[in-house]
Amino acid sequence: MEKLILINNITKEYKMGKITVPALNGIDLEIAAGDFIAIMGPSGSGKSTLMHILGCLDTPTSGDYILNSEKVSAMKRNKLAAIRNREIGFVFQTFNLLPHLNIQKNVELPLMYSGLGKKQRIRQARKVLDEVGLSDRLRHKPSELSGGQRQRVAIARAIVNEPAIILADEPTGNLDTTSGNDILGIFSELHSQGHTIIIVTHDKAVADRADKVISLVDGLISNGNIS
């Protein structure tokens, strides 16, 4: 079966003046469409760096990233923007909502960059907000919501354009156990709907649900597949 994501000996170095900080030291990875992948590892091991590369927000120092049989490094900037817009949904630990927009507007944002008309945008945004159980909060600002609710808005925003891949970098890191479990439930649900999910987590329980767990240590994958 054709792999959705192929990562080939990727490295990433950050240059800080004269010092170069290695963040990824040669990562190989294959992810099939529909996979539920958990990435684990200690702080500073390169999890976020890897996620940024997967999300086409950052470029590796060396190595290849092939997405949907296309070399990401060969893509033009606008193509990358289109991929971020349509193929990938990103969920962050800190939610990253726009504070001065209400939650419906926040969720409309990716559709705006897709060039969708206002009516359709509103319909789509309301639909996904309904799916995450927030249809009664459309006009609220993010600051008026709890952490769990904010993360649900962020998920709604990530899925509103129906991307194949959902990337979540410690989505429950800022949440208490109960709301964290709610959020994880949503990811399971999305997985069962066919989304490919890649989630960075410290939670063993999450890892147990995953098809595959990738352990990162010092920018390297430390073990193979766990079924």
Binding site: L57, A81, R84, L109, Y113
Partner: protein, 407 residues
């Protein structure tokens, strides 16, 4: 794909409102700049229109006047006046002129019974009333018969009438001027220029103190000499005025051996000159406004740069969900233009609302028009467009990962 302009403008507005105080501070320079554009353009326009109105009041654009050139000092002894013969010669050489008059003026005390009034009495031709566009309000003006026969008649200004006769009938009465008894045959229309008050005196009120008698009466019975220092004429149309002036000048130079003893001025050419001067004046003030707008633009650019710094994270988020460089660039450029245009609109509104105040202070009516409003709007939007570019480029080039890490 991408965000439409309309959408960008609405983002620009909501950004503006969510940062009201800063936005207002940001656009102060633009407000002042556009305000000064409106005020200065209206002022120059007002002055222009006032001068034009003045010219219309004084006979219109077809009028040509000959008067002594006070800067000319004769080395040869060219006469600085015309004799009556010369005047008629000049007139006969310019049959295309519509109206012609010579004028000899002198100050005299006019008396009626016990009332006295010092007036300027002019000997003129009947054409005078057409040249000045000024008729009598009672009685009649001087006629060809009066001129031919040097009749002892006089037309008096409204002020002269008021001072000598009060409310009594003036036409038909005799007044004394330089020991001569003259019959009042007409009272001139009262002259008053709307909006033309200088202090508490109207710009035209001096005319109401004048009196008119036939030129022949002045020459033969009062002055006993025919030194004519001033000639006025009119062409049939405004288009003909320049040519008529040129011909007149050639004739007069010929009479005075090419010495510039006289000034020959055409109202039309003066109006053109005046408009040219006003345009120059306007340009200078426009440059001053431009400097204040430039400073305003620099201020806005810096505030936008600071705003973008503050909104780094937002930019990172927008890039994450699919914004292209162009989208970010346009978002901030449009926002800057929205901000400066709003400043422009406020500047225009404030500018228009203080026009009357400034006008009262300077005692000149300031007249705005749509063109000025358009210019002010374009200029304010243009400032945003120019000074918004560099912040917008900076925003569009942010690295998304670093932008997302920004606290």
């Amino acid at each position: 794909m991408a965000i439409s302009l309309k959408e960008n403008i609405s983002i620009g507005f909501s950004d503006f409102w969510s940062r009201k105080i800063r936005s207002i501070v940001t656009i102060t320079g633009i407000i002042l700049g556009t305000m000064s554009i409106i005020v200065v353009l209206s002022l120059v326009n007002g002055i222009n229109q006032q001068t034009l109105k003045w010219m219309m009041e004084r006979g219109g654009l077809t009028k040509i006047t000959v008067s002594r050139n006070w800067e000319y000092q004769s080395e040869t002894d060219q006469k600085n006046y015309f004799t009556l013969k010369e005047f008629y010669l000049i007139r006969s050489l310019l049959p295309e002129a519509a109206y012609f008059t010579a004028r000899i003026s002198r100050n005299f005390e006019t008396t009626y019974a016990d009332n006295r009034f010092r007036s300027s009495v002019s000997g003129v031709l009947p054409d005078f009333k057409y040249i000045e566009d000024w008729d009598v309000s009672e009685g009649r003006f001087l006629s060809e018969f009066d001129l031919k026969n040097s009749t002892d008649v006089i037309c008096i200004g409204s002020k002269v009438k008021e001072e000598l006769f009060g409310n009594k009938q003036a036409v038909g009465q005799f007044i004394t001027v330089a020991d001569k008894r003259l019959r009042v045959i007409g009272v001139m229309e009262h002259r008053y220029m709307k909006g033309g008050n200088i202090g508490n005196e109207n710009a035209l009120s001096y005319m109401n103190r004048w009196c008119y008698i036939p030129l022949s009466t002045m020459i033969n019975k009062i002055r006993n000499q025919d030194e004519i220092y001033s000639i006025s004429l009119k062409s049939h149309t405004v288009e003909e005025a320049s040519l008529l002036r040129e011909k007149l000048e050639a004739i007069i130079l010929n009479l005075r051996r090419n010495e510039p003893v006289f000034n020959i001025e055409s109202a039309k050419e003066e109006a053109a000159q005046m408009e040219e001067n006003a345009a120059r004046f306007q340009l200078i003030f426009f440059l001053i406004s431009a400097i204040s707008l430039f400073v305003g633009g620099i201020v806005i650019m810096n505030i936008m740069l600071a705003t973008i710094q503050e909104r780094t994270r937002e930019i990172g988020i927008r890039i994450t969900v699919g914004a292209r460089r162009r989208d970010i660039f346009l978002q901030f450029l449009v926002q800057t233009v929205v901000v400066t245009s709003l400043g422009g609109v406020l500047g225009i509104v404030f500018g228009l609302s203080i026009l009357n105040l400034v006008g009262k202070y300077l005692d000149i009516q300031l007249i705005a028009n749509g063109m000025m409003i358009g210019v002010a709007l374009l200029v304010s939007a243009g400032v945003g467009l120019i000074f918004g570019i560099s912040p917008a480029i900076k925003a569009s080039k942010l690295n998304p990962v670093e932008a997302l890490r920004y606290e």
